[in-house]
Symmetry: D2
Subunit: 338 residues, 4 copies
């Protein structure tokens, strides 16, 4: 088959990563065009990556017969709309998370995708991280027997700017959403009920913006597994991304990736490197792997590995966590999906 | 000062450990007598450790003017009664956990101790474990700044016999009680509210006995810290005792003690030893350290490092966890202590 | 400055890696042409990487005015000859190790480079590995004080084919040569004397080919440091590449890179992943980094980070090790360079 | 059988440890008497450990019919003489290393032991360390296949006082002797040849005393294994005792024991504890285990696990290393034993 011709929408930080991946790392893909509402950004990225076209309006890409698929890396509140339009245009779609924060809006977008019969993959890149994939593989292979307890530690090195916090959807939808996805992915079952506790410990401004910066969410899954996620917006030692799954026959855990393996011993102790600083460093390979998988799904004409439903459920979990925190009680997911 | 003359009540498994510690490891102590309702056990232990006296009735020890202090290692349901009598007899008291499972009963025992003006130390030995002590020291020294998140993993290698489960007081009072104590000790603040979730995953017989074998308990402390304890009655890889405390300036964690440091690499992977099998192996040094501390508290005439209140609160937390699990809601500690 | 236009000579395994790096990973470079004595290989690689020209005869590249620099990845016995010709043609040169196994031949090539005033970098890629670079940085920063003891463990996952062994120059020149380079790089001083011991332990056919497969080489440096390198042609657990430098104020060590950070605990023990399999996996990033550094040296017009002398000395050390092994005695480097 | 009645000769640092072990840790032994040329030391230790007798002259212990076995912990230069006399007196003997530094003197002592038919165990306590024992067990069980390469790192936290250095026998006989024993123990074969290199790097006063403080010794064993030991008299990070054995089917390595398992992460890195400070801390359990084994050998009437020959060979290796260093050449052990 010929290379998949991809139009990239959004030339910001994550758009640049996806663009570079498409142009240089995925043999079976070609970067056909870049769109960004700030046109110079689109042009600059297109030029650097030898993409033949650039546009301010993403609709030019949707109308382009020479484009097979769309990668959506624009602002979050444009995702659902672009998904619908791209589906109508018959393009396969890769969309950064979240699809939207409104369930009805998500459902409309997913309906459009279904109706058009195009493929949709949502950008939960961590599923493609070598560590988490290894955990999933071992669990799926029965290495830990029947899973009992899940533990996820997910801490950022620094909180985002307060202006971002205000429009982020809140900790649960902006940050924990990745952990909710990871929880479903690793356990292989749906969350039935959760209980969220949280507080403002890092920056009062976050509280004034109506959000929290520290949380623990307890999960109960349909298959009986219980789990706890802990989140912090600021770990002074850097990006802390660990997972542990314990079961009847064993336990598997993964810890942080380090920039090097050195240990240094002096009179004060034994010292090692801090984790890779943040998601761009830690998850770089997973950004490449998720787009490779997307392109493979197109060329092999099979279901993408992270579906629209996979994009929807973590939002549902985030909303449930918000409700639990607000009402100080466990929340059954059935309450929200009813 | 002369050596502290100690009478040991209970010559079972833990009694033997305490007896050996007193007789051989604590310079400032002497094992003056051993009592056990099964007299041959008392006599055998006394003979082996060169203790001059043995008795079936512990009251002989309380009446003995040559005995300064009592170590209570008898059945749990005798603890409160013996504490009261020993206090009346003017003996300093070291009592294995729990004092009792009934708060009113505990309060009567503590009142007796206060009234008699004797010392009481409760056997939360894990506080004397080198790992956990290190965490506490670092937290107290401000190394992690203001604490934010506590994580405790506490898993046994195998469930106790079902007959024991039936009289154990249940997972929260039998097993989690140690983790509740550890949580208070490490965080240095009281639990204000908790939420418990749990299930029977290991053995249906445990469920038939009215208990659970797997649990996660979320804690909120007076000082704002949030934490999660996870428990399992059976980790196939052995006794899993880990703690992590995360704060504004850093994180400190401790993991399991191993019998050796070997790593073995072959074509299948890199392999290391399992943790020390169970509490007798893992916490042996802490049993010695707690009795040393008790004897020191007597000789220096100061407050023992684990007080009667320290014995009472974990029971309160266990009862709160039972209530939370039963009613599927967060429980404020104030509800129970009111 | 414009991009550096590079001609690649050799389209085999390492040539492909360098070609891909130049074409896709080094912004400031362009892959201008590929030569290979087997012309279809040159054409295929050029086509895949969008290089405008392909040739069977490397001299076409040397004659090409549109080419600024040459990367030599052809058979080892062609290196010195091509260096001389490329120098005469005024091209900057990156040459895979070794320059040659004959010191006189090396010296002629280096003289040609000096006379032409072109740049020459030798492909000791491990210097660009994040781990080893970290060790060098810490040593250079004085973190370990004055270095005392160097330890290098360098073991391959499997011996090369016996046909390769026969023409490899032997263990010391084929394999240890990298460790000799690392030793000089890390210690920052020249080897004054060495003592080599070795044996055939893995495959008698290696011995029949006149080589050994297992060795320990003890080094004494001009600055007083003593060190030991141990080599094996077959570690069943994979590529084992570790280094330790011990000094008056501390010690720094690096170990193997793993494909993931998982640990798995079951009833048999705690298990982790094997190291990345071999040099292509372990040192991939360093191949990219060394070519980036070469291109930077050209664009900034400065000395390349691995010089012709750096290419010469490890060969000298390899020859000294052969002599030491043969004569069963320590050999001073002065004996050979005299 | 009745408890073995042991007379302890030498009430210094190591004598105190052995005394305490006999009196309190080995059920089947009894401390019958303590002798020390400084009589108050003998009396004080005897009093503290409830040993019935104390003496200045060790011959009183040899004459005592109530004593079954002798533990020699006196000054090194008295060992051989006391062994001979104790053998004549029919006592079983545990002797601290070294028997002597003079081979002829050792041989006379061993002959006396043989003639008397008594048991002799030499105090190479590290064989009883859990780590090294594990390595030996795995090697003996064939886990690494045929051994190829041995690596021993053995570094002290601080050099001894210069007065001690002068009478110590030198680095090889005082410090490396333990590593020589470990090498034989782990590999299970005799050293055929060695090559020693070393220098004064830590303290010129050590050089003025005719000794070195840093060394690497390369070993070739009868079974073909090659190995390297590296020694330093001062590791600023503490007592560094590591071993690695590599073979055709795998590798096993052990590292240092730590006082706790904590890791602390802050903005500077991840930090862990230093190793246990020195041999008393690191090898405490092994001192207990070696005396238990000695007593067991007596009660079960079997060969002690560390024989007179095991005491002799490391001295031979130390002398060979001295010769190698002096003459700057590899030395075959056959040269010395001829």
């Amino acid at each position: 088959m010929d290379a998949v011709r991809i139009g990239l929408i959004g030339a910001g930080r994550i758009g640049k990563i996806h663009g570079e991946t498409i142009a240089r790392r995925v043999e079976a893909a070609r970067l056909a065009a870049v769109a960004d509402i700030y046109r110079p950004a689109a042009e600059e990225l297109a030029a650097r990556l030898n993409a033949p076209r650039a546009a301010a309006d993403y609709r030019h890409l949707l109308d382009d017969k020479e484009i097979d698929a769309i990668v959506i890396a624009s602002a979050s509140d444009t995702h659902a709309q672009i998904i619908e339009e791209a589906a109508s245009a018959g393009k396969d779609i890769f969309c950064e998370k979240p699809i939207d924060y409104d369930l009805a809006r998500i459902d409309r977008a997913l309906a459009a995708v279904r109706q058009a019969g195009v493929k949709l993959q949502v950008g939960f890149n961590r599923r493609f991280d070598a560590n988490f994939r290894k955990v999933r593989e071992m669990v799926a292979a029965g290495k830990i027997g029947r899973p009992h307890i899940l533990r996820i530690t997910s801490r950022d090195p620094a909180p985002p700017p307060i202006e971002y916090v205000k429009v982020s959807g809140g900790l649960f939808l902006d940050m924990t959403i990745h952990d909710f996805d990871m929880a479903r992915f690793l356990v292989g079952s749906e969350v039935r009920e959760l209980y969220a506790t949280g507080a403002v410990m890092i920056d009062p401004a976050i509280g004034e913006a109506g959000d929290i910066d520290t949380a623990i969410i307890t999960l109960t899954f349909d298959n009986g597994v219980i789990g706890a996620i802990d989140n912090s917006r600021r770990a002074v030692y850097g990006y802390d991304q660990r997972v542990e799954l314990f079961g009847s026959e064993g336990m598997v855990a993964v810890s942080n990736n380090l920039p090097d393996t050195h240990t240094y011993a002096n009179g004060d102790g034994v010292h090692a490197s801090l984790p890779l600083y943040f998601f761009l460093e830690r998850y770089l390979d997973s950004y490449i792997a998720e787009l490779s998988a997307f392109v493979e799904a197109i060329t092999a004409d099979r279901e993408p590995p992270v579906t629209g439903e996979d994009g929807r459920v973590p939002v549902l979990l985030g909303l449930a966590a918000q409700l639990s925190l607000r009402e100080k009680r466990p929340v059954a997911l059935a309450e929200l999906s009813a």
